[in-house]
Amino acid sequence: MEKSITKKHPVVRFLSQSFTVLWSDLRFLRRFWKRTLWTSLMTPLLYLLAFGVGIAGMVTMEEGGGSYLAFVIPGIIAITAISTAYNASGNKLSVDKIFYKSFDEVMMAPLSTDAVAFGKGMVGVLRGILACGLFIILGMLMTNDFVVNWPFFAALMLSLLAFSFMGVAVGVIAKTHQDMSTFSSMVIMPMTFLCGTLFDPNIAPQWLQVILYSLPLTHSSTAMRAAVASGDIMWWSLAYMLIFAIICYIIARWQIKKLDF
């Protein structure tokens, strides 16, 4: 029953190995799909209740600017994308590495570093698609002003890729579960609130705008919002997120390659 998996075409081998890495997480999803979906949806639902329903009544939008609900839904979807993708990729990987030691088995298997990095990243993308997909349906049911199109999906996919690979990189670097929480508190949480998800970043002071526009989530939320509001394609933001996703992937791959147990 001896197998050799190095004789396939490189692209086929990469895709096959990436799917293999993803496979265990698909089995996890299949076993715990209800719990996983509810966990992913709880935070955005609370944001929607607090900002979309609660605060929306107190906010007056500029004339022709649509409802605050339609304004805030793309922002909440951006938050869902970042938190679901980052947590799904990063937390599971860090648990597998630190507590279960099952990541050791992946590292000792004849799988390429690229396939491990990509496969682990796809967990976050997949769970992000599920959570954001449900939220998009909910948003469309709540307001007629929220209409999605391909630039919106492009921004969403790039966000999921970027933050999934960020999760992989942090999950590999983290030596304790506390490291994951620290990164989440110091980087993910501030981005969630500040990156134009719940307000227009252009109303911030100039110096703060410089900081905000250097953060990927600002580009994610503004690109999604522009797509929904007017169908505009924010090429610069899409390019920024693509570059950010590639950098995160390279860091994740590099960290996996230099892992020393």
């Binding site: 029953m1 001896e2 089995r27 088995e105 004849p110 390429s112």
Partner: protein
């Protein structure tokens, strides 16, 4: 037993440092095909660290490790295709069932679809765990997980099998079952490298043993060769109220003569064949069960 002397593992000048602490200190050794080779030493001696380097999990600070001719640093993928590893710690995804953990392993080693399922079924059947296939691996007993880990590592028929403390904390019956499985692996053409701090295990299983202490290999040979180095017979004797002393002799007759020649203040406790514990104490001055002083426990 017909030992072939074709080397499958060649280690030259292997050193691993963690900061100022040297876990593995300039090791040179060779393991031959179809051999059961044991690393014997206390916790923290550097056995597991050496094994982690051979299995590509850790990187050497200095030196070279060749597995079937492939360098662990330059060609890790080729090395990984040759090996099966049973780690000291349980390495199952505890959120998945036993079956899913096994199928994940099959898939990572190139099995697909029905072939993967058949390989898993055979492995679990052999281990007597088929009835527990759908149980979360977290809910299995320690012995079940250990046996499952071993059959998982063998599923892809690796040429070289690494076992890190394979029987630690197992009951005697399970330990014997695992020993017979290890012997079967060798008979089927695999090379087995295991670490242990159990003297009985090293003597019962290993064709050759490397005694490792504070990161250095201090002796290598068959259990008989190592015992011959200190003497095949041991006299345990003591004066009243003092610690037991040991003296080793080449023959039983010499040991008995020493026993009767002891002064009245000392008396013989036991005359017995020497074992690897005696070898270890003779070379290191400590027992295998004692961690080395000043060392950081790595196991």
């Amino acid at each position: 037993m017909n030992l072939q002397l074709k080397p499958v593992i060649e280690i030259k000048g292997l050193t691993k440092r963690f900061g100022k602490f040297t876990a593995v200190d300039n090791i040179d050794m060779t393991v031959n095909e179809c051999e059961i080779f044991g690393f014997l030493g206390p916790n923290g001696a550097g056995k597991s660290t050496a094994l982690r380097i051979m299995t590509t999990l850790s990187k050497p600070t200095e030196g070279q490790v060749l597995i079937s001719g492939y360098d662990v640093l330059k060609n890790p993928l080729a090395v990984k295709e040759q090996i099966g590893v049973v780690q000291q710690v349980v390495s199952f995804d505890r959120d998945l069932s036993l079956w899913d953990n096994m199928e994940m392993h099959a898939r990572m080693h190139g099995f697909r679809g029905r072939e993967a399922k058949e390989a898993v079924r055979k492995s679990l059947e052999y281990a007597g765990l088929l009835d527990f296939a759908n149980v979360l691996s977290n809910d299995l007993s320690g012995g079940m997980r250990r046996i499952a880990q071993i059959v998982r590592a063998l599923m892809h028929s690796p040429k070289i099998i690494f076992l890190d403390e394979p029987t630690t904390s197992l009951d005697a019956q399970t330990r014997r079952k695992i020993w017979s499985r290890i012997r079967l692996m060798r008979e089927q053409g695999s090379t087995v490298i295991l670490t242990t701090h159990y003297i009985e295990e090293a003597e019962a299983l290993c064709d050759r043993v490397a005694i490792i202490h504070k990161g250095k290999i201090i002796a290598v040979g068959t259990p008989l060769e190592l015992r011959e180095q200190v003497g095949l017979w041991t006299v345990e004797y003591a004066a009243i109220g003092s610690d037991t002393e040991y003296k080793h002799f080449a023959t039983e007759a010499q040991a008995k003569i020493f026993g009767v020649s002891l002064p009245d203040s000392k008396h013989v406790l036991k005359i017995r064949p020497s074992n690897l514990e005696d070898v270890f104490i003779e070379f290191t001055g400590t027992h295998v069960s004692e961690p080395p002083s000043g060392g950081k426990s790595l196991s």
